[in-house]
């Protein structure tokens, strides 16, 4: 006799935890099964060298949805909030971003940035409510869908004639053109380009990179925070919220398959052979592994299977962790600046050129970096006096020509450190240990197909009602009793919790309607 639950969540990523907490809050008996020994999925803190810990995949918090925080009554501790973003310049002429202010550029750019930021945050605010609800259905829609679509249309219209035209003009285009039109300072354009393409297989000249930029601004207007204790503190807080509501969370329990009986989800079987029954299985795994590996295509339909298989989700961002025996020196930065977010992207073309080789299966010889020193505000992550550098390094294609051999890995690590050394000449001497997570490593460690942290490229054809695929964008998969609650579902990745919350709400509202 297997144990029966009202709902089983596959994976204790942040979305799975949000979803479980909300389902449990609604009175359900919920079981969360996590493959790793700790909860959090790609939002965890773990050791990477003796005595050194780091937020292993996601390392900054900028999208956590206020609605999630409110619904679950989360109280998070931050090592730093409203972090500045510093665009690094080798000569110390850095460009600093904070809210709608930018310094280190001329007056024209300062003014332009204010206007740009105002417009972008306004558009992001317009999108925000739609990120926090299931997308409307375009075919076979019910009255609720018509209302939502009409409301969306009205919201756009209410921007006023000029802004509406701007919104419609911008939503599908690339950020490069827009940046070149408005700004003069190369470094400023470089940093904004990075914000638009971080974590994606896109360059600033790729279509819909305005959309990815807006996506980043949804919720907190792009304000970056770093939680005390790293990302695990966020997911631990979510796990506490889930447990407080009665959720059972079991770690070290990788799910082998989702059990399908008579054409509906009926529970899960773990790799150790234990089975758990439930008529409601919610997968926090990405759509590809959920359908292809856990459910297997024979239990769903061919057209759907083909669409899922064709989801574009090849990661192109690597994560670099360095253990340092002290902070490096960077020309023109004070010590306190090491608590901020730093970006290496001298100009907009640099970012595009960094992307180019990735299209052909090569990593960037001159990569883009997003760098933080989490230990600066949170010394608990490293031995006393020592530091950790955590960086996202782009671009590093999932399918590297010749594969990610140890040599390739070493070479890319060296490339990244050499790039850092252009800004912090003494960094190489400070490094005592390194870890590089390439997309295949991310795939393996975090069980994300393709190592793409959004669980699917954020492009217009995989967005809103097309996410993860058309006909399955309402969190319910075309298999009774199976839902998706991870980043592969609307709205997408980033530590936001929106997908998990939306999924839980969809499940509960469907139940109410039934």
């Amino acid at each position: 006799m297997t144990e029966r639950y009202d709902a089983i969540i596959v994976g204790a990523g942040h979305n799975g935890l949000v979803c479980s907490a909300l389902l449990a809050k609604a009175g359900k008996r919920v079981l969360v099964l996590e493959a790793r020994d700790q909860v959090g999925g790609a939002a965890i803190t773990r050791s990477f060298a003796d005595g050194y810990s780091v937020s292993a995949c996601a390392h900054l918090l900028y999208q956590l949805q206020p609605k999630v925080v409110k619904d679950l009554g989360l109280k998070l501790e931050y090592a730093s909030r409203n972090m500045e973003t510093i665009g690094l310049s080798p000569d110390g002429q850095h460009v600093r971003f904070s809210g709608d202010r930018v310094t280190g550029v001329d007056d024209a750019d300062t003014t332009s940035y204010k206007a740009f930021h105002k417009r972008m945050t306004r558009f992001a605010d317009l999108l925000l409510p739609y990120m926090n609800q299931a997308p409307a259905r375009l075919a076979n829609f019910g009255s609720g869908d018509i209302v939502r679509l009409a409301k969306f249309g009205l919201d756009i219209r209410m921007l006023g004639k000029t802004e509406m035209q701007e919104f419609i003009r911008l939503i599908g285009i690339n950020i490069y053109d827009e940046l070149v039109e408005h700004f003069g300072n190369p470094l400023l354009k470089g940093v904004l380009s990075v914000d638009a393409v971080l974590g994606t297989h896109l360059g600033p000249r790729s279509p819909n990179t305005i959309l990815t930029y807006l996506y980043r601004l949804c919720g907190n207007h792009g304000n970056v925070a770093s939680p005390t204790g790293g990302m695990s503190s966020v997911t631990e807080a979510l796990a506490h919220a889930a447990r407080d509501n009665g959720t059972t969370i079991r770690t070290g329990m990788p799910v082998k398959r989702i059990v399908v009986e008579n054409g509906r989800a009926a529970g899960v079987e773990t790799e150790s052979g234990e089975t758990f029954s439930s008529w409601l299985v919610v997968s926090n795994a990405d759509p590809k592994s959920t359908i292809m590996d856990l459910v297997t295509p024979r239990h769903v339909e061919a057209g759907f299977t083909r669409r899922v298989r064709n989801i574009r989700m090849r990661g192109n961002a690597a994560k670099l962790h360095l253990a340092l025996d002290g902070l490096p020196t960077i020309e023109g930065l004070d010590k306190k600046d090491f608590g901020q977010r730093m970006v290496v992207a001298p100009d907009e073309n640099y970012v595009e050129w960094a992307f180019n080789p990735a299209k052909y299966g090569e990593f960037s010889k001159d990569p883009v970096l997003e760098v933080t020193f989490p230990t600066f505000r949170d010394p608990s992550l490293a031995p006393t006096g020592k530091h950790v550098l955590s960086a996202i390094v782009q671009f590093a294609p999932y399918e590297l020509k010749g594969g990610w051999t140890n040599d390739a890995r070493d070479e890319f690590t060296k490339t990244a450190i050499a790039k850092l050394a252009e800004y912090a000449p003494d960094i190489a001497d400070r490094v005592t240990a390194t870890e590089l997570l390439t997309p295949p490593d991310i795939e393996k460690e975090f069980r994300i197909t393709g190592g793409h942290w959004h669980h699917g490229e954020l492009t217009l054809d995989q967005f809103l009602f097309c996410r993860p695929v058309g006909g399955a964008a309402q969190y319910a998969m075309p298999l009774d009793g199976l839902y998706l609650c991870g980043a592969g579902a609307h709205p997408g990745g980033g530590v936001s919790g929106a997908a998990g919350r939306n999924a839980a709400r969809m499940i509960l509202s469907r139940e109410k309607a039934a």
Partner: protein, 398 residues
């Protein structure tokens, strides 16, 4: 662009050499890249060969896929709506397959050749869909259209001809069964299937043996009124048998652009092929939903008054003396053998229940002038032509 670059030569079936010798009319059309004859002598004559002696139709352009591998059964069972577990080796199944929306992609026949080995035959090509369906299954799918030549041997004397050809044991072959024979060292597969609604067989052989088979068949059939037939005669016969044709009575759903232009199995009168006892098959969810909510369309077989074929006609119901349009005719013919004016059509639900009276607006032309009449039409459920000999085993000699 030069002619070489275009490269669109029509393929010739391995029977072409024999067919072109018989051909008097030089009327050919294209069928999936092959030349296929409309008729060789006269479509009327060929039609009467089907009904009174035996007509031989070249099936080679028919799409033929070989499906095997460890998951072959599971694969086909998920592909089509009916329960393929019930189709044992040596049996053939008529089947439809649907897209995820439960709309018919095509109909065809699945031959269970030997344990775990299948052949799927249909009018249209479907490799793209079959490959999509194969994701997650350990199966091999091979297009053997060009490798296997096919002949439909259809009509009351067909058994006698094949018997004379020396196919021992054919008398035991049941309707929708298949048997393998040796023909001059080549394997010859014979299935008791067809598209005419009469006693008949389909012969399948490797292309290299095609001409020899044709020659032997026509020699054996000499005294039994054997005749090569073209598509026109076959079309007439299939309407009498009440069989559907893709692109006439329904559109393959993957080819439709507008919503509502495709049809579900229920809407084509093929609900009997849908087995909801199977936990999963393509289109199941949508079809279960349709079953619950009711279908939009219904396929009807119509017995019309008069003798003017009702091709391309609107179908009406008469309410309070007024006609309102409820559908249209998709196939129509005057049936010489039934002495009936027959049609297949599609009407909106709930119209067109068996026994209902509908009205069909028939246009016809006499010496350039068009005329119109409203023909009374009765909805029937049985095929228009369904002789006892179609099913009798052993088939009687003629």
């Amino acid at each position: 662009m030069s002619i070489q670059e275009v490269q669109q030569d029509r393929k010739k079936s391995p029977f072409y050499s024999r067919q072109s010798e018989l051909d008097r009319l030089n009327q050919w059309h294209e069928w999936k890249g092959y030349s296929s004859a409309d008729a060789f002598y006269s479509s009327e004559l060929e039609y009467f060969a089907i009904r009174n002696s035996t007509g031989v139709f070249d099936l080679t352009p028919m799409t033929k896929y070989r499906i095997d591998g460890p998951d072959a059964l599971d694969y086909i069972d998920r592909l089509v709506t009916r329960d393929m577990r019930k189709i044992k080796p040596g049996r053939v199944a008529y089947a439809v397959w649907c897209d995820d929306q439960g709309q018919v992609i095509d109909d065809g026949t699945v031959f269970h050749l030997t344990e775990g080995e299948y052949r799927l035959c249909s009018q249209e090509r479907h490799m793209d869909w079959l490959m999509a369906s194969a994701i997650g299954f350990d199966v091999n799918i091979e297009d053997e259209t060009a490798d296997i030549a096919g002949l439909a041997v259809q009509g009351p004397t067909s058994y006698s001809i094949l018997n004379k050809l020396g196919l021992d044991g054919l008398e035991n072959l049941m309707f929708f069964g298949l048997m393998q024979f040796d023909f001059e060292g080549t394997e010859l597969m014979v299935s008791r299937t067809g598209y005419t609604g009469d006693l008949g067989y389909e012969l399948w052989i490797e292309s290299s043996g095609a001409e020899a088979l044709w020659d032997a068949l026509f020699t054996a059939g000499k005294d039994f009124g054997i005749m090569a037939i073209g598509t026109s005669a076959l079309e007439q016969a299939r309407i009498e048998a009440g069989y559907l044709a893709a692109y006439e009575d329904f559109l393959p759903s993957l080819e439709t652009v507008r919503t509502g232009r495709s049809r579900s199995p229920f809407e084509l009168g093929l609900g009997w092929l849908v087995d909801f006892k199977k936990p999963n098959f393509n289109g199941r969810r949508a079809l279960a939903e349709e079953k619950r909510r009711g279908s939009t369309w219904r396929l009807v077989k119509l017995d019309l008054e008069g003798n003017k074929p009702a091709n391309h006609s609107y179908i009406f119901v008469k309410k309070y003396g007024r006609y309102s349009q409820v559908g249209f005719v998709t196939s129509a013919a005057w049936s010489p053998v039934c002495k009936q004016n027959i049609a297949i059509g599609t009407v909106k639900m709930p119209y067109g229940a068996v026994g209902d009276t509908l009205w069909v607006e028939v246009y016809y032309q006499r010496e350039m002038h068009w005329s119109r009449l409203m023909a009374n039409a009765k909805v029937v459920d049985k095929p228009f032509w369904d002789p006892e000999r179609r099913l009798v085993t052993p088939p009687g000699p003629y």
